[in-house]
């Protein structure tokens, strides 16, 4: 069986990457593990896992290129494009690559067959392996490119995992389209939050998405001790499982800043993460009606 677990949060900086990397490091002892860093705007998992990259794939959007010989300036492409990535200007059709979603609608709708699609690079995907054997992939959005979601889509399509693999996916922060693309099709989402009003507010945004998408989830409370009991009360009232509690500890904060994974800062967490994985399996089995 394959297992795909995404680590998400709503609020940024709650410790997603910390949880994702340490979960991967704990599971690699007994499983095949892949780590997919989908936070393509600010990818950081490699700073903790130090993979050796062996493959680089351009991340692209396919944008239209118009053959001026065949184009009759009928304007059909401009008409059908919902994103206004094309304009008819004098005797040419202009293409605005940063507005193009790469949907292909202009290509199919051109009556003259005058449009071909060319790859427009918006970032890069890098693949490699860590010393401990984690199969590592991340995407990096090029600076000043607006759209992160197409890279995430490409990243996830690339990952055809073999049987028995556990895939841990580090999600971007927030609760918009790039997060939806990241968690689409996963078996479980670990929501990392902190017990503060900001943490709780942003967690609720994520819960809305996961309920809509019918994806199972549980919560990791990070930096326990800095906030109040509001988060705990809310989770209890909603019956949301708490997977792990990580106390606020300056030693942990220092270690993470130095680029050390949590399981290296405190090796006791190896067992805690393995237990968490068991807990996740139990939650999945239970909701599948197998126990």
């Amino acid at each position: 069986m394959n297992m795909k677990i995404a680590v998400a949060s709503g609020k940024g900086g709650t410790g997603k990457t910390m949880v994702a990397t340490s979960l991967a490091l704990s599971l690699i002892e007994t499983n095949q593990v892949k780590l997919l860093d989908c936070d393509v705007e600010a990818p950081n998992a490699h700073l903790f896992l130090h993979p050796t990259f062996t493959q680089e794939i351009p991340a692209v959007i396919r944008i239209p290129k118009i053959d001026p010989e065949r184009c009759t300036l009928c304007g059909q492409c401009v008409e059908v494009c919902q994103f206004h990535a094309l304009a008819k200007v004098g005797k040419t059709i202009m293409v605005f690559p940063q507005l193009c979603h790469g949907c292909g609608s202009c290509t199919w709708n051109c009556p003259e067959g005058a449009i071909e699609e060319i790859p427009n690079p918006i970032g890069v995907i890098e693949k490699g392996t860590t010393i401990s054997g984690i199969d590592f992939t991340h995407g990096k959005l090029t600076l000043s490119e607006p759209m992160a979601t197409p890279i995430i889509r490409q990243l996830k399509k690339l990952e055809k995992s073999s049987n028995g693999t556990i895939t841990v996916i580090d999600s971007p922060p927030g609760a918009s389209c790039s997060v939806v693309e990241t968690v689409r099709g996963v078996d479980f989402v670990i929501l990392v939050t902190e017990p503060t009003p900001f943490g709780l507010h942003d967690l609720k945004q994520m819960l809305g998405i996961l309920e809509d998408m019918r994806i199972r989830y549980g919560v990791v409370i990070n930096r326990e001790g800095i906030g109040n009991a509001e988060l705990d009360r809310y989770l209890e009232q909603k019956g949301i499982p708490i997977l792990m509690r990580i106390p606020f500890d300056k030693e942990i904060a220092r270690g993470i800043a130095a680029g050390k994974p949590l399981v290296v800062i405190d090796p006791n967490y190896h067992e805690k993460f393995k237990d968490m994985y068991q807990k996740i399996n139990q939650i999945i089995d239970k909701s599948d009606g197998r126990s």
């Binding site: 709503g10 609020k11 940024g12 900086g13 709650t14 990457t17 936070d39 705007e41 600010a42 950081n44 700073l47 903790f48 059908v80 919902q82 979603h101 790469g102 949907c103 292909g104 609608s105 199919w108 709708n109 959005l141 600076l143 000043s144 490119e145 607006p146 759209m147 992160a148 889509r153 971007p172 922060p173 927030g174 609760a175 918009s176 389209c177 790039s178 997060v179 939806v180 689409r184 503060t196 009003p197 900001f198 507010h201 942003d202 945004q205 994520m206 809305g208 998405i209 809509d212 998408m213 800095i226 906030g227 109040n228 300056k250 904060a253 220092r254 993470i256 800043a257 130095a258 680029g259």
Partner: protein, 311 residues
């Protein structure tokens, strides 16, 4: 030109959770209590995790619907299940209908709104339905008017919504001779960040010491550079990892960027967040509040000095 446009300051970080919002709230307090007052409006540009309203004692004065893109919907009466739509959809959004056999269904979560299927359908069974994607608000706070929004979870167009609230803030600022607009930015470097940066006069990056913090600082600085926005840096939780703080100073020096101050780790910040107020309201003498006071002065000096250079 007699009337001066309000200066726009955008607070960014690359990495999330470095303290942008707490700093924005503290700046709101400074703008009305720091001796030389500036008439200031505030914008929360982190529309998918909008938290600034939680610490500004905001009272909503106006609420507006935000209508974003359209999504495709299939009329089950007309659909013959021919699959033409599925063959053109690049977003894997089209599936057999779960209840009605022989009919297709479009998953609204996966639909990108490109309308390729609309044109591909031989039965004219698909149409584009406009979507409400959130709300935007104008609120009153003790510190000045506040423009913010709530994007519905999972929606696109956060960049459009950011542009919309910034424009409304700017138009209101023009009317009321406001001197400064403080924009609390989203994390990352993508579309909402680009929208938050557009047209601003100064970027203040809140950096956090550490390897990840440094990596994200470099990426967000590159983005601000690309849009030619002058930039300064402040360092939050500077004492938690002094080695990293030193590295930020070194990096800033190689880039010719001023570090306008550092904020120590201080529990007064989360404690004031719990009470829903800027830090100075409850802990005016805390180390973080003192540090922020200096950062505010350095930042506004920088901001209004650029103005002098321009005229």
């Amino acid at each position: 030109m007699t009337q001066q446009r309000a200066k726009q300051l955008v607070i960014l970080s690359g990495k999330g959770g470095t303290g942008k919002t707490s700093l924005s709230a503290a700046f709101a307090y400074e703008s009305t209590h720091a001796g030389m007052n500036y008439k200031t409006f505030f914008v929360d540009a982190d529309v998918d995790a909008a938290n600034l309203s939680l610490v500004l004692e905001a009272q909503v004065a106006e609420q507006h619907e935000f209508w974003g893109s359209s999504q495709a919907e299939i009329d089950v009466q007309k659909c013959t299940g021919c699959g033409s739509c599925e063959s053109v959809c690049r977003y894997d959004a089209i599936f057999p209908h779960s209840e009605i056999p022989g009919v297709n269904w479009i998953d609204p979560i996966a639909c990108d709104g490109c309308a390729a299927c609309v044109y591909a359908c031989p039965e004219d069974a698909i149409s584009m339905i406009p979507q409400q994607e959130g709300f935007w608000y104008r609120s009153e706070t003790p510190y000045g008017k506040f423009f913010h929004a709530e994007l519905f979870p999972g929606r696109e167009n956060s960049g459009k919504l950011v542009t919309l609230i910034k424009q409304n803030a700017r138009l209101a600022a023009d009317d009321q001779s406001v001197q400064l607009i403080v924009i609390d930015g989203p994390p990352g470097i993508g579309c909402p960040v680009i929208s938050a940066c557009a047209g601003t006069d100064l970027g203040l990056i809140v950096a956090e010491p550490g390897q990840a913090g440094m990596h994200d600082l470099q990426r967000v600085l590159g983005t601000l550079r690309h849009f030619r926005i002058p930039t300064v840096i402040c360092i939050n939780k500077a004492d938690l990892y002094p080695q990293g703080t030193k590295e930020i100073y070194e990096f800033a020096e190689t880039q010719g960027i001023e570090v306008v101050g550092e904020i120590p780790f201080d529990e007064s910040i989360p404690l004031s967040m719990l009470q829903g107020v800027p830090i100075q309201v409850l802990y005016p003498e805390s180390p973080a509040a003192r540090a922020i006071h200096k950062i505010w002065h350095q930042t506004v000096n920088k901001l209004f000095q650029y103005e002098k250079q321009n005229v």
